[in-house]
Structures are given as structure tokens and as C-alpha cells.
């Protein structure tokens, strides 16, 4: 099974990118989808209804959603495998620009909106620095010079980042992302998956730098994917 982690700030077009990916790849792959959000999520129900794929969501409540993602990722991989999926798409909440939820053995996709401002790539540097591919959405709204200036800002953070420019609603330009997904090696050992970087300082074992995925490796605020409701509620 292949793993793709899609991150990016709120309203960047993450779900539109996921939707086009599913639309284009559903004939060749069995796809499962997990949305990680904070308070409410609707994307899983929408995508399940639209494409008939196994889809779930998890709401982190008072916990950092990217930490929640780390906690449930192993469960999610097991769930997707039980569903006989060969491609698991995980979409982040996109709450915090500091987080970088990409793991080893999975393609890291960051979604940015071309109309989000020149300095946005610099502000979300950690999210760009450890990704494999940047998808720039709403490209139909900007002219050539603006595209190139935005691109230059992305390159300043991560010169090696593969950049795909797309109008995700229409699906233009998506072919290079689809190729990157299909070319990425499948998971070889779920036990060995770790975060690519260390998340920001906080109060749980993920916060303090333990990068193993799965609640089994953590202590403190530990919840399983099943029956988690909100992953954590402050007192």
C-alpha cells in the first residue's frame, strides 16, 4: 500500500486536490481516505458519498491535530489495509504552519494557494521544507509573472521541492502529482515509519520528540483511533 500525506494551510485547496486525485486514480487503485481535523470534518462523508471509497475522519479536539495524526497513523494504515486499499490518502487539518506531518515511507504533499500572498511560502517554511512536492492551487487566478514570483519564494525555502501548478477544481496540471503518487514506493514496514521532522515543543510524547507512529509508542495523552471521539479534551 502507498501512503500520501497532504498538508497545507486552511482553504488552500487540499480537499480539491484529494478529490481530483481520487477521480483520476480510482480506476487503477483502491483508495482509502483519512481526514484529520480539529472540531468538525465533513470531507470524509462527502468523498465517501461521491466516490464510494472507505473514508474516515478524526477530530483532535484540544490536541494539536498534527499530533493527533501521528497518534492514529498506524491504526489508519491497518484500517486501510483491512479495507484492501492500495493507496491511503491522509489529509491534515492545516491548522498550524509550524507542523510538518510527513512521514518516512509516504509521499509528502504540501498544498498552497497561489493567491495566498507572496510571503506565505516563507511563513509556512517547515511545512515546505520536508515535503516532496508542492501543489500550487488557484493558478488560473494569477498571471505568469505572479506565478514565477510565488515559485521563487517556494524555492527559497526548499530548492529541491517539486512544484505542480494546478487549478484543482478543473483538474488542470494534476498529471504530475498523479505520476509522483504512482511512482512513490509502497510502504515496506509500517513499524518503521517515523515523522520526517520533530514537531513543535509541547506537552505530550510526540511534542517531546518521539517520532514513532501509533499510540503504542507513547504515553500521557494516548488514544486509539476506535472510539476516540475528540482525541483529547483539556480539563
Amino acid at each position: 500500500m502507498r501512503l500520501v500525506i497532504v498538508a497545507g494551510p486552511p482553504s488552500a485547496g487540499k480537499t480539491a486536490v484529494v478529490r481530483q486525485t481520487i477521480r483520476s486514480l480510482q480506476d487503477r487503485h483502491r483508495i482509502a481516505y483519512l481526514k484529520i481535523d480539529v472540531v468538525r470534518a465533513f470531507e470524509d462523508e462527502e468523498l465517501a458519498a461521491e466516490f464510494g471509497i472507505p473514508a474516515r475522519s478524526i477530530c483532535s479536539g484540544d490536541l494539536c491535530p498534527d499530533h493527533a495524526g501521528v497518534m492514529v497513523m498506524r491504526d489508519a494504515i491497518a484500517w486501510a489495509e483491512e479495507e484492501s486499499a492500495d493507496l491511503l490518502l491522509v489529509e491534515s487539518a492545516g491548522l498550524c504552519l509550524r507542523c510538518s506531518p510527513y512521514t518516512t515511507q509516504g509521499l509528502g504533499v504540501v498544498v498552497l494557494s497561489a493567491v495566498s500572498g507572496t510571503n506565505t511560502p516563507l511563513k509556512m517554511a517547515p511545512m515546505l521544507a520536508l515535503a516532496d512536492i508542492a501543489v500550487v492551487t488557484r493558478i488560473d487566478l494569477v498571471s505568469q509573472a505572479e506565478k514565477e514570483v510565488f515559485r521563487e519564494q517556494i524555492r527559497e525555502v526548499n530548492p529541491d521541492l517539486d512544484i505542480v501548478e494546478t487549478n484543482a477544481v478543473q483538474g488542470t496540471g494534476m498529471r504530475y502529482l498523479l505520476r509522483a503518487i504512482e511512482d512513490y514506493p509502497p510502504i515496506t514496514d509500517p513499524e518503521a515509519i517515523t515523522l520526517r521532522g520533530v514537531p513543535p515543543l509541547g506537552v505530550c510524547t510526540v511534542c517531546i520528540g518521539k517520532t514513532e507512529i501509533g499510540w503504542q509508542h507513547h504515553f500521557g495523552v494516548v488514544r486509539r483511533m476506535e472510539g476516540a471521539d475528540y482525541l483529547f479534551r483539556g480539563d
Binding site: S116, G117, T118, Q144, A145, E152, R155, T172
Partner: protein, 259 residues
């Protein structure tokens, strides 16, 4: 140079919104061509230039394919702006870059690895030929008017992006000197494709693509048969331009302004 390696861009047919195959064989665009795309709102004009811009390969909503020199373009033509032979100036007349005009252009110059200190200023000078409201290097991009933004982005496409094919989406909306724009683009040997509702822009183009229901409906080559109409459109455009200036200046127009 990249631009000299582009002999032609070919659009191959796709489908209309109702799924009917388009009835043209191929539309070929060569350097120096002027083409206007016309048709009612929602008829698929912008979708057509977007297909050209992304070099569609049957992977857009229209199902069209766009070839360069008769073949699928190499990937860097599509993905690397420095090699991309097409520059699109969108309908959007707001630039969101939070930079001054000089900073914005310098950043573009830097991304293109162009070693020419004066090119940003020459770009601003060219842009100022397209607009009546002078653009200053220190102005914020976000504070430019629609006409200024459009003028600057067209000038950039000529000078810095130096694309051999320029796509202009409703250039007339922004209130820029459209005949001057067309003249400069033609003199520079660019192929220009306009999406337009403007009679003058349409009549100034050598070819007219008529859109309907998301598909190319007809391709018209007037071949000199519209000279009288062009003369009339020029005269009317001139009258309207002068009236506009009078009204902007706060004057009362009590006499005929026509020629």
C-alpha cells in the same frame, strides 16, 4: 533561445459541454499570429486559453490536446517557467504580491537568472506606454489600478518572461491602450491570443475563433473583408476614448466629439 525553437502550437479538438466532439481538425498558432476568441459569457473562451496555457493532454474538462511543433511538448515546457513558451495574463486585475513594483519585477528577473540591471525599469517604461496612469517603481503591487496591473503584467510577459505566445484574457476590461498593446506585441513577433468581447480587438485580429457551449463553433479568417468595419470600430473607439477622458476630467460634453 527557447522562443526561436517554437515553430507552432497546435490545438486538437475535444468535446463540447454536452459531450459532442468539436468539429475542427486543428488550430495552429504561429509567431506573429493574432487570434481572438469570441462568444457569449460561459461559452468556453477562458477554458480554451487555459488549455493552451497548461498544454492540455486530454486531461482537462474539455478533452483537448495541445501540441508544440507537432508533438507533445517536453515536460520543461510545461513545468519550468524559464522554458515555458506561453504567458497568460488573466482576467484578474489584482496582483496579490505584497511587494513594490520594483521588488516584484526584480524577483521575477532573479528567478529567470537574467543578468540585466535595467530590465525592470525598461519593463515599467513599456507598461507606461499601455496606461494613462503612470506606474512608479515604488508603488505597491496591491495598490495598482486594474489598468496599471494589466499593463505591467503584459510588459513583463514581453520583456522578462519573454514568452513567444501571449494569452490575454479580456484585456479591454482594464482600460488600457489596446491598440498600442497589439502593436507592441506584433512588432515583437509574438503570437497573441485574445479572449475578448471588444469589437476593435476582434477586428484587429487576423483570425477569430467563435465559441459555443464549451466548444469551438467556427473559425473565421476575414482576410481583408472587414476593413470597413475595422475603420468604423477605430473611429468609434476613438470617440469613446475621448469622451471617457472628458468625463474623467469632470467636463461637460456639449459638442460633438466625433471626427
Amino acid at each position: 533561445m527557447v522562443s526561436s525553437s517554437i515553430r507552432e502550437v497546435t490545438i486538437l479538438p475535444g468535446r463540447s459541454r454536452s459531450g459532442e466532439p468539436e468539429r475542427f481538425e486543428a488550430i495552429t498558432i504561429r509567431p506573429g499570429d493574432t487570434i481572438s476568441i469570441v462568444g457569449p459569457t460561459g461559452s468556453g473562451k477562458s477554458a480554451l486559453i487555459n488549455d493552451i496555457e497548461v498544454f492540455a493532454r486530454g486531461d482537462t474538462a474539455t478533452g483537448r490536446t495541445v501540441l508544440v511543433n507537432g508533438a507533445y511538448p517536453p515536460e520543461e515546457f510545461v513545468r519550468d517557467p524559464a522554458h515555458k513558451p506561453v504567458a497568460l495574463i488573466t482576467q484578474n486585475t489584482r496582483c496579490l504580491a505584497d511587494l513594490s513594483v520594483a521588488e516584484f519585477l526584480s524577483m521575477h528577473v532573479r528567478s529567470r537568472r537574467i543578468a540585466d540591471d535595467e530590465i525592470a525599469l525598461r519593463t515599467i517604461a513599456l507598461a507606461n506606454e499601455f496606461t494613462g496612469e503612470p506606474i512608479l517603481p515604488d508603488a505597491r503591487m496591491t495598490a495598482l489600478s486594474g489598468g496599471q496591473t494589466r499593463s505591467l503584467l503584459v510588459a513583463d510577459a514581453v520583456m522578462i518572461a519573454a514568452a513567444p505566445i501571449i494569452l490575454l484574457d479580456e484585456v479591454e476590461n482594464a482600460g488600457i491602450f489596446k491598440e498600442r498593446v497589439i502593436e507592441v506585441l506584433r512588432d515583437a513577433g509574438k503570437a497573441v491570443v485574445f479572449v475578448t468581447h471588444d469589437p476593435l480587438v476582434s477586428l484587429l485580429s487576423a483570425r477569430r475563433i467563435v465559441m459555443r457551449d464549451g466548444a469551438v463553433d467556427r473559425i473565421i479568417e476575414p482576410d481583408g473583408r472587414e476593413i470597413a468595419a475595422l475603420r468604423e470600430a477605430r473611429r468609434l473607439d476613438d470617440i469613446l476614448r475621448r469622451m471617457r477622458e472628458e468625463i474623467r476630467a469632470g467636463n461637460l460634453i456639449t459638442e460633438s466629439i466625433g471626427v
